[in-house]
């Protein structure tokens, strides 16, 4: 992983987090579900650079959202780190079909919402209800899949440009 890649990755995560909280959170939230741009970015990085990159970007992005939110610090870092690693296992598969990134993004959204819900309940600090989580889930998944259609190719192209010797994983 090159220095420029780390720098641009950090910048991308910060930008995604700020866009998610200020712009995307203003979109209509049916059932309370909102777009999760940082998660989509984590999935995109994982698909282009593999599980290690996914885990690292996931941890960083989740931690930033943790610090700006109300829930205990570390909940989203854990969730996004795990989801990033798992999404990274699909790296290289996206050449098979353009649907693979969308499918991975959808699965990642479901996984992240469920994983966060369970962790939040276990932590005992955040009142969560299974009903509330299920109601918002379809909206979040739809938004994320739509975002992934743009973010995944963009990140893949950027990653290729920043990697002189081709694919790393």
């Amino acid at each position: 992983m090159t220095v420029s890649k780390v720098g641009i990755g950090t910048l991308a995560v910060v930008t995604a987090a700020l866009l998610e909280l200020t712009l995307l959170a203003r979109l209509p939230a049916f059932g309370g579900g909102r777009p999760a741009l940082v998660l989509v970015l984590v999935v995109a990085c994982a698909l282009s650079d593999g599980p290690a990159a996914g885990a690292l970007v996931g941890f960083g992005g989740g931690l930033l959202l943790d610090l700006l939110g109300d829930h205990p610090v570390g909940l989203l870092a854990f969730t996004f780190c795990l989801v990033g690693y798992l999404a990274g296992l699909f790296a290289g598969q996206e050449e098979r079909s353009t649907l693979v990134p969308l499918l991975v993004a959808g699965l990642a959204s479901v996984g992240a919402v469920v994983c966060y819900g369970v962790l939040a309940a276990v932590s005992g600090q955040v009142p969560v209800s299974a009903g509330g989580i299920v109601r918002g889930l379809p909206t979040t998944v739809l938004y994320d899949v739509a975002l992934a259609a743009f973010v995944v190719p963009a990140v893949a192209a950027l990653s290729r440009r920043l990697t002189p010797g081709g694919q790393l994983h």
Binding site: A25, R26, P35, G50, A55, L63, D70, A120, V126
Partner: protein
């Protein structure tokens, strides 16, 4: 170069770090070592959020406007709610009305000069995955906002400040399940509390007096009082349905909040007096400097406020 074994090791290390962070944060509560990190993040990103939010505000207005295109139902609902409110007012007897007037005067006096309102606008909202209902506002410690203070609009209570950085504050909304607010039924003065059930769902009211009567259309106001940061008599919502609690220790009802949490625009943070008045001190010093007699009800002193679309 980077095999799956190294990736697995990295994953385990990061997950352990995250678990450690959660443990630290949960154990230490609001004053732990991570509080400093949080306020640093707020100080760093607050100004950026404020700047971005100014640019993105029309987006929210656009979608709010879309909602109003098919808005006959909204309009009908608003009318229906108004009728319900008027009916509830009519049902108050003359005596209770006089009493209410009396208390309103008392609280008006008590609050005159004791509270100050800082106007603020939302700059950021809770993110995609977490379940909390919070909003970041563009007023912070340098504007005098402190943790625990009540946030209101012209129509009623919005929530409570839970974290403050220099230029922004984090507010937990009334609809968030983590917030519980002491309330009083306006017509009968029965005491209870309301708790949120998530965005888009009604609040839940619990009345502790089993003999208290509660009916659809009853209005709720905040209880306030000593030890609470809430200003008393801020409107909270109207009762929309009575719940049956079999063998319960309390009476329950569903409450529709007055504030539209989907279209928050101009808010006011009720800044408490730095030196809270003693219990008996109902009469305030001469109100020469006070501009608004009942600040709890008026929210936006800024004339630059954009009317909601």
């Amino acid at each position: 170069m980077r095999g799956p074994r190294r990736a697995r090791l990295l994953l385990v290390l990061l997950l352990l770090t995250a678990v450690t962070l959660v443990t630290l944060d949960v154990r230490a509560g609001r004053a732990g070592p991570l509080a400093g990190l949080r306020s640093a993040a707020g100080d760093t990103f607050g100004p950026v959020e404020r700047a971005l939010s100014g640019a993105f505000r029309p987006v929210g207005g656009f979608f709010a406007g879309l909602g109003h295109l098919g808005g006959y139902k909204d309009e009908y609902d608003a009318e229906a709610r108004q009728v319900a409110q008027l009916q509830a007012q009519l049902r108050m007897t003359e005596r209770v009305r006089a009493q209410a007037q009396h208390y309103a005067e008392l609280f008006g006096l008590a609050s005159r000069g004791q509270y100050r309102i800082v106007a603020a606008r939302p700059v950021a909202f809770s993110g995609g995955i977490d379940t909390e209902s919070t909003v970041t506002i563009d007023a912070g410690s340098r504007d005098g906002v402190r943790v625990g203070e009540a946030v209101v609009t012209g129509s009623g209570l919005v929530g409570k400040v839970i974290r403050v950085s220099s230029s922004t504050s984090l507010v937990v909304l009334l609809v968030d399940p983590s917030l519980k607010v002491g309330v009083r039924v306006a017509s009968t003065s029965a005491i209870g509390d309301v708790q949120g059930q998530g965005l888009g769902k009604p609040l839940r009211l619990r009345l502790f007096d089993l003999r208290a009567t509660i009916k659809v259309g009853d209005q709720l106001v905040t209880l306030g009082g000593t030890g609470e940061t809430y200003v008393p008599e801020v409107p909270v919502g109207t009762v929309t349905a009575i719940e049956q609690v079999p063998g319960g220790l309390y009476k329950a009802a569903l409450v529709n909040p007055y504030v539209d949490f989907g279209g928050l625009d101009i808010l006011g943070v009720v800044i408490a007096n730095p030196t809270p008045p003693k219990r008996g001190a109902v009469l305030p010093p001469p109100p020469a400097a006070s501009a608004r007699p009942t600040p709890a009800r008026g929210a936006s002193p800024t004339p630059s406020g954009r009317p909601s679309p």
